[in-house]
């Protein structure tokens, strides 16, 4: 009984971790291609989910709403490249980071101005209930929707990997990620590439937004969930898709386990900070993350 409960908590945590990883993926994409740490990824998740849910609630067809939301995200990516990134090219990373904090506020304000600030429920046809055969056979409660989300995440990662490995744009992206100057020198249009990356990150944000929207409803609190992607990135490293997944799983699992087994002794609510403190400890003892390489400062 004890063990079954542990497995349940662990599985729940791992699956929540998949959801964190979905958000973290968007950060990694943009960081790899442009060296920008995009704080606004969370706001993009919120914006995408809110746009989609508002359109479907207005009676739009599911697929039409999806395509229109995607188009909006692509436009947003292009606009961000033009208005924010291009004028700030060659600035210190910290400046770009602060600019994306500005972008966060613009997006959050804009989303709520257009669509209103009331919370929405979201349904994708997969109910968020325990799977029957698992609970009957093993007495383990694991949500159908969680497994669905894990599946979606798996497919998304596979698609991204294919996109990066097999397509011309993907190769150009990797070249840009490796060395901006060299990529420019061989004639890769940097600005197009950046716009594409932001658009892809917008797509990832949409997927993450839908998954989180079903779980918690589409509301402003989504931006706080998205913040949890930051500790995930500290663990997994900013440049590795695999790292984002593994980091997400670790954060998700340890956070749930800590809440359940440690929480009662300290008054609960430790989910609000546990991930950050884990990240803090990592920063103290292994700042390059689990997969990152040690950085040597060249002078």
């Amino acid at each position: 009984m004890e063990f079954v409960f542990f497995v349940e908590v662990l599985a729940g945590g791992l699956l929540a971790g998949v959801m964190y990883a979905l958000v973290a993926l968007g950060f990694v994409l943009i960081y790899k291609a442009s060296g920008v740490f995009n704080f606004a990824q969370g706001a993009m998740v919120f914006f995408a989910a809110l746009t989609f849910v508002s359109l479907t609630e207005a009676g739009w067809n599911f697929w039409l709403a999806l395509v229109v939301t995607l188009a909006a995200m692509v436009l947003l990516g292009i606009a961000t490249e033009r208005v924010v990134l291009r004028p700030l090219v060659n600035q210190a990373p910290i400046t770009l980071f602060m600019a994306t904090i500005g972008l966060t506020f613009v997006l959050e304000g804009l989303s709520q101005m257009i669509w209103g600030s009331q919370p929405h429920g979201l349904e994708l046809g997969v109910p968020d209930v325990p799977m029957e055969w698992l609970s009957q056979r093993w007495n383990v409660n694991i949500s159908q929707f969680d497994l669905f989300a894990a599946l979606v995440a798996g497919v998304l990662v596979a698609v991204l990997a294919l996109f990066f490995q097999k397509t011309r744009i993907g190769r150009a992206l990797r070249a840009v990620a490796d060395d901006h100057q060299a990529a420019l020198a061989v004639g890769i249009p940097l600005q197009h590439i950046w716009a594409i990356v932001w658009a892809v990150a917008g797509f990832v944000a949409l997927v993450a937004g839908l998954m989180w929207g079903v779980r918690n409803g589409v509301q402003y609190a989504l931006t706080f969930v998205a913040l949890k992607a930051l500790p995930v990135l500290i663990l997994g490293g900013f440049e590795s898709i695999l790292g984002a997944i593994v980091g997400g799983l670790i954060i998700g699992a340890t956070e749930k386990l800590a809440e359940v087994y440690l929480g009662p002794f300290v008054g609960g609510g430790i989910e609000s900070w546990f991930a950050y403190v884990v990240a803090l400890v990592f920063l103290l003892f292994r700042p390059e993350g689990l997969f990152g390489e040690k950085i040597i400062d060249r002078v």
């Binding site: 980071f97 904090i101 506020f105 613009v106 804009l110 930051l230 500790p231 008054g267 803090l280 700042p287």
Partner: protein, 358 residues
């Protein structure tokens, strides 16, 4: 013609190293202080003193604290509000547990507590920079507030979560009116701004800026990296702590964790960016802007409604405010990374030449 330094020769380094080397600046600051200390409390009404000027001073102090860390020492923090919360809660506890303690002593002790917490969360800065550090300070934001809420001792086991701040007294003299609270705030903020200005123009300030501009080179000229960064965290958090104490005692009148959310941390960061990164004056300009702008926006929406007969809802105005703040951040980072303080400086340059353009 009025603002001209020609003819003001400096024959000693002491003269050249005054805070305000130009005579007109010294006169202007004297007038400003006289107005702030004498005229404002005499003629200001309750609304202006209590709801605008006092918070303006407090947020200026918090922004100044963050500016020391981010603007001068180059270490980004998203946890300023948490350090303010430490200041507020610890002041409450010092007043509660040490009967008759002068409020200023409680402020200093609370500031020291905030500084200690700042050092702990600043430890990662020894090994990491930039947005990595932002995540570490987020840990401060969430963890510190959780501790203050969950550990009963800090709120003296209050069940409501909101505690009333004790009355402010120094040796029996009570600061119980908005004007007196304003004066106390002004005195603390003015003194601390002066200390900050002195510190930033001496060896410590240069060490901060050296670490900010190029840490390897700073270490090569013998600046101890760890000590300098942790000192920046300590001083910055001390300032934030005292600002938090003032916020609870002279402004809100209550001590509550909700007042020190992540949102406040961002607001203070915005004050620094808009006001001017690495500028004492900028901290004041930024705080003034962030406080006055929503008031202006409300007024403007009122006029627009009056003119066109359209009702602008409160939600729209508050969203518009968020959008404009975010947009301004991007605008200032692109167009004028040194913020309002730099614009002020440019205006002074123009004034020096006026009316002859060359």
């Amino acid at each position: 013609m009025l603002y001209r330094e020609a003819g003001q020769f400096k024959s000693t380094y002491a003269q050249d190293q005054q805070i305000f080397p130009i005579l007109q600046d010294r006169v202007a600051i004297a007038i400003l202080l006289a107005v702030a200390f004498l005229l404002v409390p005499a003629f200001g009404n309750q609304y202006w003193l209590g709801a605008i000027l006092t918070p303006f001073l407090i947020f200026s102090l918090a922004a100044l604290g963050l500016n020391i860390l981010t603007g001068y020492a180059g270490q980004l923090s998203l946890g300023t509000a948490a350090f303010m919360a430490v200041g507020a809660f610890m002041t409450y506890n010092f007043v509660l547990r040490i009967p008759g303690i002068p409020i200023l002593a409680a402020f200093v002790l609370a500031g020291l507590c905030a500084a200690a917490v700042g050092i702990v969360f600043g430890l990662p800065s020894v090994r990491i920079k930039g947005f990595y550090l932002a995540v570490a300070t987020l840990a401060a934001q969430f963890f510190v507030l959780w501790v203050l809420q969950r550990v009963g001792w800090f709120s003296n086991y209050s069940t409501s979560g909101v505690i009333t701040a004790q009355e402010i007294a120094i040796l029996g003299y009570r600061f119980d009116t908005p004007a007196k609270k304003y004066l106390l705030t002004l005195a603390v903020v003015a003194a601390m701004a002066l200390l900050a200005k002195n510190l930033m123009r001496s060896e410590t300030g240069r060490a901060f800026m050296a670490v900010r501009d190029m840490d390897v080179a700073a270490s090569v000229v013998g600046i101890p990296m760890m000590k300098t960064k942790l000192l920046a965290f300590a001083i910055s958090s001390f300032y934030a702590g005292v600002a938090g104490a003032l916020h609870a005692f002279t402004y809100l009148g209550t001590v509550e964790p909700e007042a020190y959310s992540l949102d406040l941390s961002f607001r203070i960061l915005f004050m620094v960016i808009i006001g001017g990164v690495g500028s004492i004056l900028g901290s004041f300009l930024g705080a003034g802007f962030i406080i006055l702008f929503p008031i202006f926006l409300n007024l403007a929406s009122g006029w627009v409604s009056g003119l066109f007969g359209v009702e602008i809802s409160f939600a729209v105005v508050s969203n518009l405010e968020v959008i404009i703040f975010g947009g301004l951040i991007i605008f200032f980072l692109i167009a004028e990374p040194h913020g309002l303080a730099r614009l002020w400086q440019i205006a002074k340059e123009k004034l020096r030449l006026w009316p002859f353009p060359h």
